[in-house]
Amino acid sequence: MTMRPDPTFHASPKLAMEAPPEHFAYTLLLSPDFKKPDALAVIDVKPGSKTYGRIVHTVTMPNKGDEFHHFGWNACSSALSPLAGHAFIERRYLVIPGLRSSRIYIIDTKPSPLEAKIHKIIEPEEVFKKTGYSRPHTIHCGPEGIYVSTLGGGGKDGTQGPPGIFIMDCETFDVLGRWEIDRGPQTLHYDFWWNLPRDYMVSSEWALPPQFENGIVPEDLLANKYGHRLHFWDLRARRNVQTIDLGANHQMALEVRPAHDPIREYGFVGVVVDTTNLEASIWTWWREGGKFHAEKTATIPPEPAPKEKLPPLLQGFGAVPPLVTDIDLSMDDRFLYVSCWGTGEMRQYDVRDPRKPKLAGSVHIGGIARRTPHPNGKAFAGGPQMVEISRDGKRVYWTNSLYSTWDDQFYPDGMPGAEVMANVGANGGLELAKDYFVDFPEGYRPHQIRLEGGDCSTDSFCYPSV
């Protein structure tokens, strides 16, 4: 317990933007063939540093086959909630779930990121026993502690009962139990986030474990059996209050990005693929008159490609779907970054008018058919995937891998791990930094990135940016 709130906690998004820039980027490393233990890489991102753009520390886990995916902090700016009255915890521990193993690692980043080490390991049995859920995924710190979304229910293949969210204590990391009291029609899960003062949560749907663990199941996709709904929840009452179906053809509604400024009651969600035309889409959701609404506000078309440039999975279509697998919203809620993992493009939309996104910038890198190299000349396999934005909005970092088995289906020629960064122009526009290209150890692929002191998909705020 500290005497003052952690200096990386900020009352409003504006204050977070004014804070000192990040010096380290934490990146998850996964061993796609499960031959090595997964790891956490600490990357130096301090401009001018001798080791800039290189891994300066690695925490290697003691187990194999965890499949690291997403992760998060034990505490963030949400601790300054006027309701909590208890801001005296530190942003100190990274909570890393193994998506395949259901094991959860707690990593201590103090006294220095260069000395990060394992603090605690929560074995899968504890998660199964206390929650009946499996395959932990998204981590957010909030009013009741650490919230963890899961993709699987009980049983070996995770299909016994629906997946959901469970709560962990933010200091002891004890698994406390299920979060939902009334889940309504929700049976699938992926991402979730919230508006704390307005007291609502939004969650999305990917798929059940048999639909992703051994690769994408094309028959299920074409039969529209992946997730396509958004669920809106009363956060404190833990009740599902509304479900919006985006339409069965809008397969895989993934990342949910609410506006950071809590006065704004809207947000976005990305849809991976429309099975009628291979388009990807961005949807805007908002609350008005006590009800939630959602509409498709941007689409990204597939790109035709000759059969020989396509993996077997796509040869019948003669085109590359954009595959929007991640989106991220800048701290000032101005730019939405959209990863097109299939076509190899990072798009930047101006979303100041949230229901009319305007394309403001774009860079091509990688891609199934385009295979655009990095401007420094290096090859970039895969496409832009997990994206993270610096708090000040000036730098956008991303990695290239989606998920072990899916990588192999869409990019069968292999995918050496890569992490790149683009600088953002004052009025939009993106340009890849020639001097930032992180090489990863042989046999590892990078996934989500977390920035020292918080980033644009971690912190939630309780006061508006006036």
Binding site: G85, H86, A87, F88, R198, I263, Y463
Partner: protein, 224 residues
């Protein structure tokens, strides 16, 4: 001024001081008023939040004080009750010192229910207990004036005193918290929320122990 009047004066000052202390403690809710004002873009919403926050706090004070208003009507038991109250307050302070975990149930209260939140937070932190020994002291000084009054009248007096103590305390709290909320809302900005936020848990727990110990010492000494 007689000794009894001097004692009463100090006790009233203690009531006001504890109100000011509760008011500036962010844990008792002034940042909620700032948030309400900012979220609704209206100073009226800030004032509107102060009302339920004060009501909840007042109710929590009364919940602790009122049972004792009835109890100490048993005048021959006045000293033992005061001593027992002192021990309870010390005990609660010690528990707060040792068990630093925040009651998780508080996190389940919706941000829309400010009065309930304020009530629950005050109860959970023993805010009313801090007033209890002071209140009992005031009751003792007023009965010292009266000599042997009828039990019914003593109860009425004690109830009126409990209401007055809770009102004065809550008014002081509202004044301090409201002023701070207004300054942050209007002039200082939300940066001040994190800047001003000191960990008062220890100070709070220690002040409970001190208030209880002072009451215990005075009463044990006078009893003899």
């Amino acid at each position: 001024m007689s000794d009894v009047d001097t004692t009463a004066l100090w006790l009233w000052l203690a009531i006001i001081a504890s109100g000011l202390f509760h008011g500036i403690n962010p844990g008792m809710g002034w940042p909620l008023a700032v948030s309400a004002g900012l979220m609704d873009k209206s100073p009226r919403a800030l004032l509107g939040a102060l009302l339920p926050l004060s009501t909840g706090h007042l109710a929590a004070m009364l919940l602790v004080l009122l049972p004792f208003a009835l109890l100490i009507a048993l005048t021959e038991w006045q000293r033992p009750i005061q001593i027992a109250a002192g021990i309870v307050v010390i005990g609660f302070g010690l528990i707060r010192l040792i068990d630093r975990r925040h009651p998780r149930a508080l996190a389940r209260i919706s941000p829309a229910r400010l009065a309930l939140w304020s009530f629950a937070v005050a109860i959970a932190h023993g805010a009313g207990l801090m007033l209890l020994p002071i209140y009992l002291g005031l009751c003792a000084t007023s009965s010292a004036h009266d000599g042997h009054a009828a039990a019914a009248r003593v109860i009425d007096q004690n109830l009126a005193m409990a209401l007055l103590v809770a009102l004065v305390h809550t008014a002081a709290m509202l004044g301090a918290g409201g002023l701070l909320a207004w300054l942050v809302y209007r002039y200082l900005g939300v940066r001040f929320v994190a800047r001003s936020w000191f960990n008062l848990e220890t100070v709070w727990a220690v002040s409970l122990v001190l208030v209880g110990a002072a009451a215990l010492a005075v009463n044990v000494a006078e009893w003899r």
